[in-house]
């Protein structure tokens, strides 16, 4: 944690009435460490796979032909008459891409709250945390009306730009996320998918596996509405907003069966993502976003601890 990371965000970046102010304040000081050494890149906050000549000493190694003579520790050579190379751990940035699902199913329950609001808060929170770690942050919002992309950058105001882009998006349609994840994995080593995974679930998992196989990190943030977990409105004909053919009665006798099927599906989904090497976290729309963000970015926590399923 550095002093810079605790510095409050400039008020000019967010309007005074911004809904994200308290969230960003609550996330001050939270880091999103890489889960493993990151590839070589610009100097950042994450341990790099390469070892270089930074001030953070690690060990000595015998000089081998071909090494840069400037890296020889001359004082040690003078003392021991042996040539050693001073090794130090490199730190690099971890470009982070947020892929946010803005399909029709995310607009539930309709209104200010619900899954879409929670997804926006999570995206802004994760963007702020990553940005504060000095990582470039990009955004891909996949909606029925089209996909909007923000290239991963580290400049100031990127979090506000992320927030504005999300606020300007209206969920709708049944777009596919897999292509967006694949594209995001090309430009960022860390991809966080914020979705309800009710769309192209299998294709999305396949794209995630490709991302992980390429050495990237993948976070599956599953946004679930409380009303989906425990339907309160009985005696209605439940209609899938993304599939007009799915219209089934939601009556008292079918709720238990629904609960079991939904829980089993979530269990399967979580297991699939975790088995693939990703991080799965389920977030309900009622959970405070800052707590959810902390849960998602918690370093080294076992996968099960990052979000109970069911």
């Amino acid at each position: 944690m550095t002093a810079d990371s605790r510095r409050p965000l400039p008020s000019s970046l967010f309007p005074p009435s911004s809904q994200y102010g308290s969230l960003l304040d609550a996330l001050r000081g939270v880091h999103w460490p890489a889960r493993r050494a990151v590839p070589h890149g610009a100097t950042g906050a994450h341990h790099s796979r390469t070892r270089g000549s930074s001030a953070e000493f690690t060990e000595y190694r015998n000089y081998r032909q071909g090494d840069d003579p400037r890296r020889i520790d001359w004082k040690l050579l003078a003392r021991s008459d042996r040539a050693y190379i001073r090794l130090a751990t490199d730190r690099a940035v971890l470009p982070t891409a947020l892929v946010v699902d803005a399909s029709a199913s995310m607009h539930f329950p309709a209104g200010d709250g619900g899954k879409w609001a929670q997804a926006r808060r999570l995206a802004v929170g994760l963007a702020a945390v990553a940005h504060r770690d000095g990582d470039p942050v990009g955004l891909t919002v996949v909606a029925g009306g089209g996909t909007r992309r923000l290239t991963a950058r580290t400049r100031r105001g990127v979090v506000a730009e992320v927030a504005r882009t999300l606020d300007e998006t209206t969920p709708g349609g049944a777009p596919a996320l897999a292509a967006a994840v694949t594209a995001a994995a090309h430009s960022a080593a860390r991809v966080a998918v914020i979705s309800d995974f009710l769309g192209d679930e299998d294709a999305l998992l396949a794209a995630g596996r490709q991302c992980l196989a390429a050495g990237g990190e993948l976070y599956a943030v599953h946004v679930v509405a409380r009303e989906e977990l425990e339907p309160a409105q009985l005696g209605v004909l439940a209609a899938d907003p993304e599939d007009a053919a799915v219209r089934r009665p939601l009556v008292e006798g079918s709720v238990a069966e629904y609960r079991d099927a939904f829980a089993a599906w979530r269990e399967r989904l979580a297991r699939a993502w975790r088995d693939a090497g990703g991080v799965y976290a389920m977030v309900t729309d009622g959970e405070p976003a800052e707590r959810a963000v902390r849960r998602v970015v918690a370093p080294g926590a076992p996968a099960a601890a990052r979000g109970a399923v069911g």
């Binding site: 539930f108 989906e228 004909l237 079918s254």
Partner: protein, 417 residues
């Protein structure tokens, strides 16, 4: 309106009641609500039945009930039942020369007629007269024919069978002997029911029938021979047959009331010769026909036909002349052969040598029981209503089809299965 298979109508009523009862069962389709995870709900029918206090979908209910009733009514074979009365009448009014006072006969007929009855006026022919035109009936000089009246009545009766159970034939006539011919009895037998006879006053004919003949002809003339065989010959007879050109005295005699028969001899050339001479195989009269190869040289002047050739062309005509008449006979009697001696030729002679206007027998028929008959009135067979019923059933089926389509459209419009 009646139904040939009313149990179908009862069945339709039961089915309609069932439809109404079903509409009290509310098959409620819950209102739709968005749930993104709807796919995890068990796939069960979305409709559930529950009793309701009021019938649902009143328009649909009305259409369905109407549909069921229309189909039931169509299968019940409806037949239109016209308004029928027990008895309708066919009144045959005689206006022939046998009637002494046609006005009195007309009044008698008018008293018998009711609305829907048919009036047939007849003399030698018969015609149906509109009730309002009764006053226009005038006495006719023609001989009356009960056969013609019966034929007209038989043709009229079927039109009455849809309006009445029975048809009564009323003959308003003096029932003179001359009005009956050989076909009358057979035609009367075709009217299967009794007839009512209203006898009106007839003309009293005091003139004796013309039996004697005066014939002016050569001695070997075949017509003279036939006349001698058929009738007594006397110069004072009221009928004079002239074989040759008539003279002025003949015309004067005819004007005085005699019947002059101008029958040219074979070699004569009367003014009414035919342009084209041919032959005809027979000469026909009201009482018979003479079959022989007659040379057809002449065409008699226009007048009342007394005899006809086999092809219907007049062979002898009568024209009035003062108080009497002149008959022109265009039949060339072969001078060779015995045609003139045959009985059929004598009947031809009787026909052309009768008194002016034809022989009359205006004596009232003594026995008319056969004409009146006995037993019930003529009950014509029930009108054939099946075709009308089938038409009505077709329309009912068409209406049912239209209602079914409307019901389907309404259901589709409301998004029902």
């Amino acid at each position: 309106m009646s139904f040939l298979a009313p149990w179908f109508l009862a069945g339709a009523a039961l089915a309609a009641a069932g439809v109404v009862a079903l509409h009290f069962l509310a098959f409620q389709r819950p209102r739709p609500a968005v749930l993104p995870t709807a796919r995890f709900l068990p796939d069960r029918p979305a409709r559930a039945a529950s009793p309701a206090r009021r019938p649902r979908d009143l328009l649909l209910l009305a259409l369905r009930v109407l549909l069921v009733l229309l189909v039931g009514a169509a299968f019940a074979r409806p037949v239109p039942a016209p308004r029928r009365r027990p008895v309708a009448r066919v009144v045959a009014l005689d206006q022939s020369r046998a009637v002494a006072d046609v006005a009195a006969a007309r009044d008698s007929a008018r008293g018998l007629l009711a609305e829907g009855d048919v009036l047939v006026a007849f003399d030698s022919a018969a015609r149906v007269v509109d009730g309002a035109a009764t006053d226009s009936l005038r006495p006719a000089a023609a001989r009356g024919s009960l056969s013609a009246a019966l034929v007209a009545a038989l043709r009229t009766a079927p039109a009455l069978r849809e309006r009445a159970d029975s048809v009564e034939l009323v003959l308003v006539s003096p029932l003179a002997a001359e009005e009956v011919d050989a076909a009358t009895a057979s035609l009367r037998a075709l009217w299967r029911g009794r007839a009512r006879l209203v006898r009106v006053g007839g003309v009293a004919d005091t003139a004796p029938p013309a039996r004697a003949l005066a014939v002016r002809a050569p001695a070997a003339d075949p017509v003279l021979a036939a006349a001698a065989l058929a009738r007594p010959l006397a110069d004072t007879a009221r009928v004079r047959v002239v074989r040759g050109a008539p003279v002025a005295a003949d015309s004067v005699w005819a004007r005085a009331g005699g019947a002059l028969v101008h029958w040219p001899a074979a070699g004569e050339r009367p003014a009414w010769s035919r342009a084209r001479v041919d032959t005809s195989g027979a000469v026909v009269t009201g009482s018979g026909s003479v079959v022989a190869a007659f040379e057809r040289r002449w065409a008699p002047p226009a007048g009342r036909a007394v005899a006809w050739w086999a092809d219907g062309e007049p062979a002898a005509t009568e024209t009035p002349l003062g108080g009497g008449c002149v008959r022109h006979v265009a039949v060339v009697v072969p001078e060779v052969g015995d045609v003139a001696l045959a009985p059929s030729f004598r009947r031809l002679l009787d026909a052309v040598a009768g008194r002016c206007g034809g022989e009359r027998d205006l004596r009232p028929l003594a026995d008319v029981r056969w004409l009146g008959g006995a037993g019930p009135l003529y009950a014509p067979p029930a009108p054939e209503v099946a075709s009308a019923g089938a038409r009505l059933a077709r329309w009912l089926f068409l209406a049912a089809l239209a209602v079914a389509l409307a019901e389907l459209a309404l259901r589709r419009g409301e998004g029902r299965p």
